[in-house]
Symmetry: D2
Subunit: 331 residues, 4 copies
């Protein structure tokens, strides 16, 4: 019986609760833990990850941060507004008041922390009022921010071996010669993940402490066709049924090239991001969203090496429940 | 004759122009170049840098991003204002309207891009109306941002071998058992840099393509004593006379633990950041400021290894003249 | 010959230049003037305006300031993002740290100054590089804001007798029993203004120093049907040919219920807000946009009195080229 | 026995509770009320207020909104950050891309709603977890803002007869020929208010529905001497003992020229804004802070008329617990 078949669509709350119970990591790293699955990345793991660097090639996995982004206002999420405090125009005109010909430009930004390439921190999602490790949500995240699991607590942790599972290329259709892509609504099941591992070969094995990076190809499509409903609309993504797979493989984090990491529409008739609800507060998993995997994926397809050193350090905004970043892959 | 003695304080504009002429890299990488000294970092250089990782230890070199920062309003620079769009308090009370017990928290930030740990991009500073590579400043940075050398153009570049020169420890005074520190106004000359290299031993040699990281110890002092005038006030830092040293060693970038990288008060009677004026628009050098080097420096002092893989990818805000980041050192 | 017929569509730049020349008020109030047509409002004028208040009824003419607004990102204009620094939820839980049962809530906003109900200040629009009164635009508005005609210079001036010309009701179609409305693209000509004055009766005469308030009904339609393309799309509005009418009547300011005050698409084949180009930098006229005139218009229709005291004081943001406000009509 | 003597400093919580009980207006205007004491302003009251306008003179009572303000970061309150999206410099250079010589400038602001001249809305302060009219604070103000008494609910209400009580001039010392001023820590008691009414003469009587405007002179001092600790530091202001006076006189609102309206340090040994705690959630009183009364006060002193029409319409940010504004007095 396939995992998808195992999904009981008639009882979403029960299914979520059951998955949460199966996949819970509460107390696994003690009652005071604030790092969740990042505990699975050890120095030794990182040492071996660094040894994967053969060519010294780097890939930025960040999408742009600007007003041309996909946000449309849902829950007050806007695209980043970047403005200048000083410009070169004024410097060229010599009206800035600095001595000896010095001129300068400065800038400012206002943005939601989850407007573009980001990590969901452990304080981003709650399950029945509980945050990661069972804490009452109201004792973790108030108007003052996340006082317990704020993203700054993992400022140095999101570094390690990562594996790209390019499901879009392995199982999708190559619409425009840019590598394959999955259609919206495509639910990536455990079987799909395993098939991709097998198709990609031995550099793609996923084990404890690894950071799983899943490419659907949807972002590449937006580069051709415009954002459309990228932010919150239909999308390929991980099936609810992958919760156990993620748990069994003990991945340290997972990131995708979509807005919301899991398939949309969600697989229950009435639901909102049920996989988030299982993996963030219960499993303690860090989830990356809106990553740009196009260039990296093309490179992996070319050299058939899907593992690399990933340095994905979040901007350490104190108390943030999510954080923008510029993830860098080194091969 | 010491370099400091060589500084002609009677003619700042002339001294700046002379240093700019000596250290200029205009056209070195062609008329269309937007990366400046980052051209000096090659894949092979990065490959060797990755091979420096022996233990897999990671160090975040970012200061916190929050309202408890040092900014006091100079040129409209504030500390980051982080606010919540949703909180765990409301999730716990069950008033968010999501199904099946899901709750969420989201957040927003407004901040100058140079409020905390940052890279100065090539569009940040101009010399007599000219930006990097000789371009008219007004054709590079307008109210729409830096359309030529915006920080996104180097999103994948700031990765390589870095060397920590802990001048504070080598030449300063250990006030509080936290490693040595230099007094405000201390100008770090080429001789001081060389003396530190020598004191630290063979892992500290600095060559083409390396990222130079200089610790003065001033940030450590603010951790004990509060920010004081950290943002713009007196500080230890690189002497104007190090421009030639940086140029001759062909460093790819330089970063310090101070607000402004160069010594303050500046060494000319009337001046404002004259070393910036030489190195950014003329040399094409990326300058990092407000880095937290305390933990890394203690580790380097302990294992006597001052070289490491540095992944210092800026948040790629389109058109930004500077960018916040979370630099990560791997040893 | 109608005014619309007089519009030479073959030469927009020439037509704009000619209208600008005919309607220019440069130097009318001296070379140092910063108030433009607001000079036409005298204390005596305001005294008589206050005498128009018969019932003491007040009407707020502001649209809401929130994320449900019409902005779609054009020129980085977003809707207002309002977030809380503290909430009642935390106060109720007693976790704020104030003594004796005190609790508090605070909030923050980030918004373009022209996102909702607003005045265009004199620094908002330029004509061939010239700002109001002939000043070079670059000497008026830099990255530091409008150093000459910033909105704070008229903080106490936008008060006086106003006349509502409800063109939507007089000449439009009453689609939904909410008063008439004009279709998108309807250009309100001088003849339409005169016809509305006549239809409304003697309280509608417009003379020197009066503030003209023109209702098209478009905003009312958005209340029924959603914003659609309200921000920048097709709209009814003043014809380019009204420039002379506004000048001859010596109005002190003009405001409408549309995004851009003038008809859209603009009346020349290739043009962008040509009436703005004539009236703001050349005539020195303050232009109000995105006002909510629905309730006031219904009241005026009911009592057949279209004149009132208008207090339309802009939020005095130093150096602003436009400003949000809450205009109040007293009848 | 003086009111000050009546203040029991040994039991702040008890004193606050007793004053709250004496001055409560809960249910006075029904269980659904959201306007508090603004119910006391009637159309007839406003009609008579308009009749006070004799000269047509206007006075803006707003302080500037800019980075040179007094905020120092307390509870994340910054000064307003105003930046430009487009400038005249670019318009003059003709690099904006508009046709026919059109140029434009646009701007953006990020600011706390209580950073400068403001009204405290009814959702700003709570007493033991209760908001105005007895509602649980958490059911009124969440991260989404004030869903019940948001400032937009009174967008048209804050208009009426106002009386300036220039306590600074009547009872203070004229330090610099700018009108008298009270020293920091000066608690204005009911006796001081009555003495000022008497000294100013018959135009100063305060009755139901009036807006009370109290000048201490502290703001004028900051104009001479700089902000100092204006935001949150020692200040003259209303004594806790004026709660009953305000209640007995049935004022509709009260505003002052200080940061916090009430005297600071607060009159109890351990306390934080106890008068706020009584008057906002219990009395339902709107409190204005950081008003600029200097020019108006000089005018009132000159013509001996202290009553005027006040139009003090808040910027109607949906759900705001406070709001910036530009109050206008007409005399």
């Amino acid at each position: 019986m396939s995992a998808a078949a195992a999904l009981d669509r008639s009882d979403p709350e029960g299914a979520i609760a059951a998955a949460a119970a199966r996949c819970s990591n509460w107390d696994r790293w003690g009652p005071d833990d604030v790092k969740g699955t990042l505990n699975l990345i050890t120095d030794e793991h990182r040492r071996r990850a660094a040894a994967l660097v053969r060519r010294g090639a780097t890939f930025s996995l960040a999408q742009p941060f600007d007003m041309d982004g996909p946000q449309r206002g849902w829950r007050r999420r806007t695209n980043p507004v970047h403005t200048m405090l000083d410009t070169g125009t004024e410097a060229e005109l010599g009206i800035q008041g600095f001595p000896h010909g010095l001129g300068g430009a400065d800038d400012v930004i206002a943005m939601p922390l989850q407007c573009s390439t980001q990590w969901d921190g452990l304080g981003h999602i709650f399950d029945h009022g509980r945050a990661w490790n069972g804490r009452p949500a109201g004792q973790v995240v108030t108007s003052a921010g996340d006082g317990v699991t704020g993203i700054e607590t993992v400022a140095a942790d999101l570094v390690g071996r990562a594996v790209l599972l390019d499901v879009g290329r392995a199982l999708g259709v190559d619409v425009a010669g840019q590598g394959g892509e999955l259609p919206d609504g495509f639910a990536i099941t455990p079987e799909h993940l395993d098939a991709t591992v097998e198709a990609q070969g031995p550099t793609s094995s996923v084990g404890p402490g690894d950071i799983l990076v899943v490419r659907t190809g949807q972002y590449g499509r937006t580069l051709r066709e415009g954002w459309g409903e990228y932010a919150g609309g239909p999308a390929p993504g991980l099936s609810f049924t992958t919760a156990d797979w993620l748990h069994e493989h003990d991945v340290a984090a997972v990131a995708t090239d979509t807005w919301g990491f899991e398939v949309r529409p969600n697989e229950f008739d009435v639901a909102f991001q049920p996989l988030h609800q299982v993996v963030i507060p219960n499993m303690g998993l860090f989830v990356g969203e809106m990553w740009d995997l196009e260039e990296l994926a093309a490179d992996c397809a070319a050299d058939r090496r899907y593992e690399f050193l990933l340095v994905a350090a979040p901007l350490p905004v104190t108390g943030a429940v999510g954080a923008p970043l510029n993830p860098v892959a080194l091969k």
